[in-house]
Structure formats: structure tokens, C-alpha cells
């Protein structure tokens, strides 16, 4: 998760709300699909990015950058990000932002 500074200014009016159809439990399950690499509730072990407590818009923007192929150092996240909808990314990001580090 390097180079997060330049695109912070780009963040503006993007909707950052969970999709209405998803319950809190469904979002929690969705976010849990990240935990094998990023730790339970986003609290990672060494050498992996901790998502817990990271601002929602930071996670959303990073995921959108991965999805759009704008992260030249990506190894795997550009492939995984493409499998999630924008609504799912927004909801997962909100979930991780709310987790305790």
C-alpha cells in the first residue's frame, strides 16, 4: 500500500455507502474473504497490509486503482479487485474502516 498520497485529492463525490440489499452480516462475510491474507477483521500479521482502521476512501481508491490497472507494482490485487463490484468494495472498505487496529 505505497503511493497512497497522490490520489487522495482525487477523492470527491464517489458514493461510499453500502449496497442496500446487503445486510451487516453479509458485508462482514464479504470482508472476511480478504482475511486469509489481510488478517481476521483486517488485522494482518507481518509483511501484509493491515486494513483495520484504514479510512474507507483510502481503501476504495486503492481498490479502484487496482481494478483500473493503475498500480504498476501490483502482483495479485489487480486480478482480485476485478472480481468485486464497486458497491461491494465500498461496503468492505466501510467495514474495515470501522474495525479496531
Amino acid at each position: 500500500m505505497k503511493k497512497i498520497v497522490p490520489w487522495l485529492v482525487c477523492f470527491g463525490t464517489a458514493t461510499l455507502f453500502s449496497a442496500q440489499a446487503q445486510t451487516a452480516a453479509d458485508v462482514r462475510s464479504l470482508a472476511a474473504s480478504c482475511a486469509a491474507c489481510h488478517g481476521t477483521n483486517g488485522n494482518a500479521q507481518a509483511s501484509m497490509v493491515t486494513l483495520a482502521g484504514m479510512p474507507q476512501q483510502v481503501i476504495v481508491q486503492k481498490m479502484q486503482d487496482y481494478k483500473a490497472g493503475r498500480v504498476p507494482t501490483a502482483t495479485i490485487m489487480h486480478q482480485l479487485a476485478k472480481g468485486y463490484t464497486d458497491e461491494e468494495i465500498n461496503a468492505m472498505a466501510a467495514y474495515f474502516a470501522a474495525q479496531k487496529k
Partner: protein, 423 residues
């Protein structure tokens, strides 16, 4: 009966409140029994406790004293890791999450009485049962391997554990100039790229210590089943002249005494060390309980809940299931099964709705040397029409080439998934 009545009629909130109130006392709250504490079962046990606010009782039946990872176990064969590096305790599931660990083996399941019989003599009642036994081997397809003495000599090393170390010792005893021959069964089998990674790891060891030795891959499949181009490049460039790949070699028997592999169409083959990865099916307990309804090998499940299609209130996870299209039998996928099932079991036992649209991913790293890695990834989404998990078009993919950065990530993946599963 009173409890069941309450579960069916009480509001979700009321039930959760009631459960939370009983969380610290024993003998109260719905009972879940989990058979097998691998990547799927241990994850399910932990997440059911967490996601029920510690209201659902979870008993985990696992005879092994500690968790030994299958992923990374090929590095023990290559010599860059030791057994201790791939072994984790079960203590945190007990201490942190209040999972009751019974160190025993499940011998049978009575799906009508909802009881799990244990080898030690006692029986465990359940409201919902999770069966995550991994795989067992179809020795009937290799008559010469049915004897215990043959199985002691010709190893599979396809379950992280004593055979991993024993195969390493066979490699250490192999003379320089000797041949290591590995047989791969027809897909599906546990860990599709695992055999090809193993070939790399054995060759990595040979190239350092026994450079005249050879690695012979006898594959029943028509071609390499996973990461084919990446593995073939590693074999050609890093291990030129050392690894030989022979597809379409269907093993039909083994003469353990003379160290001979026998094939359906090809000539017999002798080698100093034989490594037979046998055809496999759902673990014995699932097989015996009649859950393996797909070709008498794998257990069919509802992908929203992982509930067995053969028995109500019984869920099956991990390598034992009849997979969805393009869903690998991997540790990472088993961890994802565990969480999807945990959410469903909590919902079902507390009167809430089950997630109608699960989405999860697979990430699989293979070491082509002690440090360099290639990956394959995929994202899987529930298809309501087809009632199965399908890969999301345009997602997933492979490494461009083997690289050390992903080697660092692969070790980080291991640390994180072990913690997510066990701590």
C-alpha cells in the same frame, strides 16, 4: 424441545440476547460439532464462535496434537523449511475463542439421532454438524498399495505430517545419481499445482546436493493441471536436464518391494524413491456416513450454506466437497468455505436470513525454488440461476513470471491464513 421451539419462534434479537446471556455457562445454547481442524474446519469453528457473539457452543473433534500445514510442506522436502515452521498449535482456538477441542477421532455419524460417535467411546450430540475431513486415498485402485507395509515404504506425503518428514528422509538417503519418481492422479485431487511445485523443490535440493540425480514426473493427466507454462519454464530454465515430465501416465499398480510403478499403457518404471500421490476422495468419515454422493468420491453441497445434499443439518467443507466449476481444492478455498458456512450456520441457528450472494477468492502460491514463487488467483461468485459458484469473468490470473517479491508475499500469506484459521 423447549430450546428448539425458542429457536424457531423467537425473534432473532431475542434469541441472540438469550444466547449471549448463556455464553459463559456450559450446556446452554445451540450445539455445533466440527469434525476435522484443517483449513476449513478450524476456520468454521473460530468464526461460528466470533459471529454468534460466543453464544453457539462449538466442539472441534481433531485427533492430531497440532495443525501441520499442507501448503509450504513441499519446502520441507526441498530443505528450506522444517516441520516446526509449518506447525501451529490449536491452543488459541480454545483459549481465545472458547472452542471445545476434543482430541479424538470421529468414527461414525448418526444423522437421525444427530450424534457423532468418537473412537474414545463417547458420543457428541449436535444441532448442526460440520464435516471437514479433508481427503483419504482410494487404495483399491492400486492393489499393491493396500498393504500397510507398502504404504510405509511408498509414501504419498499428501497430508502435512509424518509422511512429509519421512519423504524428506528418503530424499536425504537417495544416492547422487538416483531417481525420484512421482505419480500424479487424474484431476480432481487436493492442491492441483502441488505436485509440480514438489518437483521443483526436490530438484532444488538435488541441484545443490545431488546434481546427478533426476526427478521424473508421471502424470495421469494430459498436461500440467495448474500454472502449466510457469512450471514448464522453471523446469526448462532452472532445472534443465534434471526434471522430466511425462503426461498421460495412468498408474494402475505399484510393486513396493521392487520399487516399480505399473501403468495402463506405458512400460513399468523403477526408481530409487517412489512418491505415489494416489487417487483420492472425501475423507473416510464423510464416505462412511454416505455423504460422498458424487461418484462415491465427493460430497455434494448447497453452496449458500455448505449443507450436505445427502443429510439435513450436516455441512461439508474443504477438499471433501464436489467442487463448483474452476474451484480448486486448496487451503485458501477451504478457509473461505469455513467462513461462508460459519455465517450460514449462525444465521440458521438464530433465525436470520442466509447470505444469498456469497463472494470469495482463491490465492495460491507455488515455490519454484526456495524463494521464488508463481501464483494463480480467482474470484468466485454465487450464481442464483445455476445454484453454484462461478468465477467472475475478467478477474483472477497468474504471475507474469516467477519472482522473489511474491515469495515474500507467500510467506506472509501463510502467517496470515494460519492466524485467521487458528488464532
Amino acid at each position: 424441545m423447549q430450546r428448539r421451539h425458542l429457536l424457531q419462534t423467537g425473534s432473532a434479537l431475542g434469541v441472540m440476547g438469550w444466547m449471549s446471556g448463556c455464553a459463559s455457562s456450559s450446556g446452554q445454547g445451540p450445539k455445533v460439532v466440527v469434525i476435522g481442524a484443517g483449513y476449513a474446519g478450524a476456520t468454521a469453528a473460530k468464526y461460528i464462535r466470533m459471529w454468534s457473539d460466543y453464544g453457539i457452543q462449538v466442539t472441534l473433534v481433531e485427533p492430531n496434537p497440532a495443525f501441520v500445514s499442507c501448503p509450504l510442506s513441499n519446502l520441507v522436502l526441498g530443505g528450506s523449511k522444517r516441520m516446526a515452521d509449518i506447525t501451529s498449535p490449536y491452543d488459541n482456538l480454545v483459549r481465545r475463542h472458547g472452542v471445545k477441542w476434543v482430541q479424538d477421532r470421529a468414527t461414525s455419524i448418526d444423522v437421525n439421532k444427530r450424534l457423532v460417535q468418537l473412537a474414545g467411546g463417547s458420543a457428541l450430540p449436535y444441532d448442526r454438524l460440520i464435516v471437514s475431513p479433508g481427503v483419504d486415498f482410494m487404495w483399491d485402485s492400486l492393489p499393491g498399495m493396500k498393504q500397510a507395509s507398502a504404504q510405509d515404504k511408498v509414501l504419498h506425503a499428501w497430508k502435512g505430517g509424518p509422511q512429509t518428514l519421512a519423504l524428506r528422509q528418503q530424499l536425504e538417503a537417495l544416492p547422487d545419481g538416483g531417481v525420484f519418481a512421482m505419480s500424479i492422479p487424474l484431476a480432481p485431487y487436493r492442491c492441483p499445482p502441488g505436485p509440480y511445485e514438489r518437483a521443483c523443490q526436490v530438484a532444488s535440493y538435488f541441484s545443490q546436493y545431488k546434481p546427478k540425480s533426476k526427478v521424473l514426473i508421471l502424470d495421469a493427466n494430459d498436461d500440467v493441471t495448474s500454472k502449466g507454462a510457469l512450471f514448464k519454464k522453471a523446469w526448462a530454465e532452472r532445472y534443465a536436464g534434471m526434471i522430466e515430465y511425462r503426461p498421460k501416465h495412468q498408474l494402475v499398480d505399484v510393486d513396493a518391494a521392487s520399487g516399480t510403478l505399473k501403468f495402463e499403457f506405458n512400460d513399468d518404471l523403477k526408481a530409487n524413491v517412489l512418491n505415489v500421490i494416489p487417487p483420492m476422495r472425501a475423507g473416510d468419515i464423510a464416505f462412511k456416513a454416505g455423504l460422498a454422493t458424487a461418484n462415491q468420491r465427493w460430497c455434494e453441497v448447497d453452496f449458500l450454506t455448505f449443507e450436505s445434499k445427502a443429510a439435513p443439518n450436516v455441512h461439508v467443507l474443504g477438499d471433501a466437497i464436489q467442487i463448483a466449476p474452476a474451484m480448486p481444492k486448496s487451503g485458501h478455498m477451504a478457509n473461505q468455505h469455513g467462513k461462508t458456512c460459519a455465517a450460514a450456520v449462525v444465521a440458521l441457528l438464530t433465525g436470520q436470513s442466509v447470505n444469498a450472494a456469497p463472494v470469495y477468492n482463491n490465492t495460491c502460491y507455488s515455490f519454484v525454488s526456495a524463494k521464488e514463487v508463481v501464483h494463480v488467483s480467482s474470484v468466485h461468485r454465487y450464481d442464483a440461476d445455476k445454484k453454484t459458484m462461478l468465477t467472475v469473468p475478467g478477474s483472477g490470473g497468474l504471475s507474469a513470471a516467477a519472482n522473489e517479491l511474491e515469495g515474500v508475499y507467500a510467506f506472509a500469506w501463510a502467517q496470515n491464513i494460519w492466524a485467521d484459521t487458528l488464532a
